[in-house]
Amino acid sequence: MTTQISRRTTPRINVWDLLARFREVGIIVFILLLGAVVTLRAPSFLTVNNFRDILMNISILAIVALGQTIVILTKGIDLSVSSMIGLVAMMVGFVMRQYPETPIFLIVLLGMALGTIAGSFNSIIITFGKVPPIIATLGTLSVYRGLVFFYSGGTWVNSFELPQSIKMLSKGRLFGVPNLILIALFISIIVYLFLKFTRTGRNIYAVGSNVEAAEYAGIRPQRIIFLVYLISGLLSGIGAVLWVSRFESAQTNTALGFELQTVTAAVIGGVSISGGVGTVTGVVLGAILLGIIQNALTLVRISPFWQLAAQGLLILIAVVLDKVIYTRVARN
């Protein structure tokens, strides 16, 4: 047996294998190629300021997409993130307008708490109610958005009504780097450590990879699934506070349609919709790639109206390439 098995597993390393194993490499290569092409057409692409802009633009996306990723790892999906952001943003906005003196850390905590509660509602429906995640969160997508309208009576919180403290949360700088980027980086690192170095994190992968086997192995899948929607809500809550801070307003249509962007970032970043596969680095790179594309299209003066089409095309290319690479690997 020994001889036979060791013979079968002689590693055969080739380009396709590498690309499949290190999905991130593929995205980086793509980013570099794209960057080179854009720089030729528009040299202003390769400036510190421009990169700061790009990162500012995708910071919130990256944070929420990480929550989405954790959910997708368990074969689920959370379509309600955009409405959770909208709801939490509105509630936080109302509190800030009414009590402008509230210390900023309390506001952040409030956002986290509200997001977690919204997320826990998803968790309950999905784990105890046995409603398929896509349906449950499709439902709460409308429910939370409806609550935004009900809550605000259709009104907005405008920039002049918000205190300086919340605005500085994202715009303040540390060593010349905007806080928003640092916060996103910090959260990415936390999520990375969580997924890679805690048992719970590893159990998330296990549940997404094979639920029954996870149960045999003594993991309680329902708990894990409960947890992931909670985390998605938590990160959406943080995203909501940052959203208010960055755009200096809370509107009834805050983050409308954002849910599909988060799924897009995750999918481009190599997260498999069928669960169990995906890394934090990949997703962050996926979000950055999305940001760069948007930025590059503006710089090379492609009509803003065509930008959405280009984004869509990019998703299609990314998933098709991914498939081609995997088929190649499987054939080898």
Partner: protein, 375 residues
């Protein structure tokens, strides 16, 4: 085997060719009946609340409001039965209608433009179908991509412009009524197509094969079902019907903007799932989906008459969607809860969650009170 053995078996009666007997009431426990009862309930309550509800002109106008959703729902039901999904329908309708609008603005004959729109929509379906059926990508991912791609093309065509002034022969599709009755043309179109789709799903070989694919795709393939071909065709049909819905919408509005129909894909899926379709495939009927569409239409119409904001209306529909999936499982859950042994952990958790949700709602109303009071 010989005739003799068959006779012997019949004597032993090892298998019957009859359906298991169901009690009289269990027939009414079918989801479709529940929807029917709900519809009656909504009609009853609404007639009590608003005198305008049972007004024929109002009903006629509001029914045509839901025909785009209805049209797109037809192929969506078939797609969901196979365990797939098409998120791109609303974007596709925007794209096709925008091309038609663009051509109309350029002075091209409206019917030629409409034909071009239909062709483009169908091509969009071909793209989806090819990627799903032959490249074998998950439909959720593919149509998420084309969701953005098609909508982007719509914006590319029209930008911030709109197409207007369609000739009345064309707007008839969306606004006209049949033979001087109150019945809108689009409703007739929907009913005709719904009949065709329903019969295909429930009475034909292809319909049976759709269920087979939805329940177990590999086994269907091994049994000679042309899985790839069927999926490919389904998405093409979905593309074509989406484009058709785009024309109906443009005709009804009398104008086209590139963001026409944004978000309708979720309304379409909601109707289908509320109608009893299993999102994982293999279960559900066209009757159910159609009844759900009627229910949603009446609910929204009724709430509209009461001046309830459309987003809050969506909230009600969203809740209904969740409850509709929860209710059939309730028996299971109660049985499950009975099995669970008494544990402090679960009690604590339940109490904790209750406290948290109560706190949330107290905060919810407390924080909005001062501002809302100003109005």
């Amino acid at each position: 085997m010989t005739v003799e053995t068959i006779n012997k078996n019949q004597q032993e009666n090892i298998i019957s060719d009859r359906q298991a007997r169901k009690s009289f009431f269990s027939i009414f426990l079918k989801w479709e009946w529940l929807l029917f009862v709900l519809i009656l309930l909504v009609i009853f309550i609404n007639t009590r609340l608003s005198p305008f509800f049972l007004n024929a002109i109002n009903l006629s106008r509001t029914s045509s409001d839901f025909m785009e959703i209805g049209l797109m729902m037809l192929p969506m039901v078939l797609i969901i039965v196979t365990g797939n999904i098409d998120l791109s329908v609303a974007s596709n309708m925007g794209m096709s209608a925008s091309l038609m609008g663009l051509m109309h603005n350029m002075g091209i004959n409206i019917w030629l433009a409409a034909l071009a729109g239909l062709t483009l929509g169908t091509l969009g379906g071909v793209l989806n179908g090819y990627l799903v059926a032959y490249v074998k990508l998950p439909s959720l991912v593919v149509t998420l991509g084309t969701f953005a791609f098609f909508r982007g093309i719509a914006f590319g065509f029209l930008g911030d412009q709109a197409a207007r002034n369609y000739p009345s022969q064309f707007t008839f599709i969306g606004q006209g009524r049949v033979f001087d009755t109150l019945i809108p043309f689009s409703v007739v179109l929907f009913i005709a197509l719904a009949l065709i789709f329903g019969l295909v799903l429930h009475r034909t070989i292809i319909g049976r094969q759709l269920y087979a694919i939805g329940n177990n795709e590999p086994a269907a393939k091994y049994s000679g079902v042309p899985v790839e071909k069927i999926k490919f065709i389904l998405f093409i049909v979905s593309g074509f019907i989406s484009a058709l819905a785009g024309l109906v919408l443009a005709a009804r509005f009398g104008s086209t903007r590139p963001d026409n129909g944004t978000g309708l894909e979720l309304a379409v899926i909601t109707a289908a799932v509320l109608g009893g379709l299993d999102i994982n495939g293999g279960k559900g009927s066209m009757y159910g989906a159609t009844l759900a569409l009627v229910l949603i239409g009446l609910l929204r119409f009724g709430m509209g008459l009461l001046n309830i904001q459309s987003q809050v209306q969506s909230m009600v529909i969203g809740l209904l969607l969740i409850v509709s999936i929860l209710v059939p499982h309730i028996g299971q859950q109660i049985r499950f809860l009975k099995q669970v042994k008494f544990r402090w952990q679960s009690i604590l958790m339940t109490v904790g969650l209750l406290v948290v949700f109560t706190a949330f709602f107290i905060f919810f109303f407390w924080s909005r009170a001062p501002i809302i009071a100003q109005f």
